[in-house]
Symmetry: C2
Subunit: 204 residues, 2 copies
């Protein structure tokens, strides 16, 4: 395994040009590096917490939606009869799978001190997907909300109110997932900026 010092100077995945001073290792440099590793661990732990929250909420949302079928008659409401509810389920399931993957990548990075992909790919991959999936999840939950509000006044909700309550809970859980995904996106955006400035994850 590479030492933190070699990682700090852009040893993995490139992007940073080593400065002339890098050839002279000083005690100050080493101290700085150790502090940076500690800070990075704390930062990564925070990201891991946000990923875990996103995963829990979006998985719960998807499960609540997929189990939302009342009765077996032809006139009883089922979640897959509504476009917006299918969209809510699909978006939450995608985000849950993505969060699971990111959690594995995050645990890998915390335990081994190297990123799963090359560093430059990893920071841009995280940020890009966080942004795209945040838009996807918000769009799905908004569509679900609009449908839920429309359904409220109709016979569907008067006859089987449990169906409407369960959809509403599912959508609310989806919004909570979006909140944590947005926070992850902020942190991964910050990581991209740090990487662009220093050519390494090891400076804050």
């Amino acid at each position: 395994m590479r030492s933190p010092q070699s990682l700090r100077n852009g040893g993995v995945g490139g992007g940073g040009t080593p400065s002339p001073h890098a050839r002279i290792p000083t005690p100050h440099h080493h101290f700085h590096s150790t502090v940076s590793v500690q800070k990075l661990k704390r930062f990564n732990s925070l990201i891991l917490v946000f990923r875990l929250s996103t995963f829990c909420f979006s998985l719960a949302s998807a499960v609540f939606m997929i189990t939302n079928s009342r009765g077996s008659g032809s006139d009883s409401p089922r979640w897959y009869d509504f476009d917006a509810f299918r969209y809510v389920f699909a978006a939450n399931a995608i985000v849950a799978v993505y969060s699971l993957f990111e959690m594995i990548a995050s645990v890998w990075e915390i335990s081994r001190e190297v990123t799963l992909f090359p560093e430059i790919l990893q920071v841009w991959f995280d940020f890009g997907h966080d942004q795209a999936f945040a838009y996807l999840l918000l769009s799905a939950d908004s569509a679900g909300t609009a449908l839920a509000i429309t359904l409220k006044g109709t016979d569907t909700c008067k006859v089987t109110s449990a169906f409407c309550v369960q959809s509403t809970i599912s959508i609310a859980l989806g919004f909570a997932g979006f909140l944590f995904l947005g926070l992850s996106s902020l942190l991964s955006g910050f990581r991209v900026v740090c990487f662009v400035i220093n050519g390494s994850r090891f400076h804050f």
Copy 2:
């Protein structure tokens, strides 16, 4: 008015610490600065085009929605009877006003070579609002789409189909506005990164 040279070295709004070399002006520095000013003008013109497109599409969307009332009877559909359509109108109106303001700021910057607000405030203001309003607009348009799809099967669309067609057009225009707002957001994000790295808008 300050010269581009003084702006380049973080003269407005700070954020950048002047390097020791900044004290020695060279012909090369001046040449570089002129090229940067040219590049910045082209970059700002591109942002202006995106802002103008956002403004046109979101204004058109808001106008299409607000004029969407059929008949004067109590059973004829009106846009303000539907929560999601009111949300679409509000979001598009807000984005139209914001884009108009940003267009003025952009024209100001191109013509006078200084930003309307202090530089650091301006770049973060632009980026923050672009991101927030992009989420808002996508959310509103998704909600509108979900309602429009639900309405399609009901009597409202069978009796007065013009109402549904006009809502759909308004929502589609809103999505086009979102697309250009997203592009503006990318460029203003790039400007923030440039500003954080160099402490000035004048480096690409």
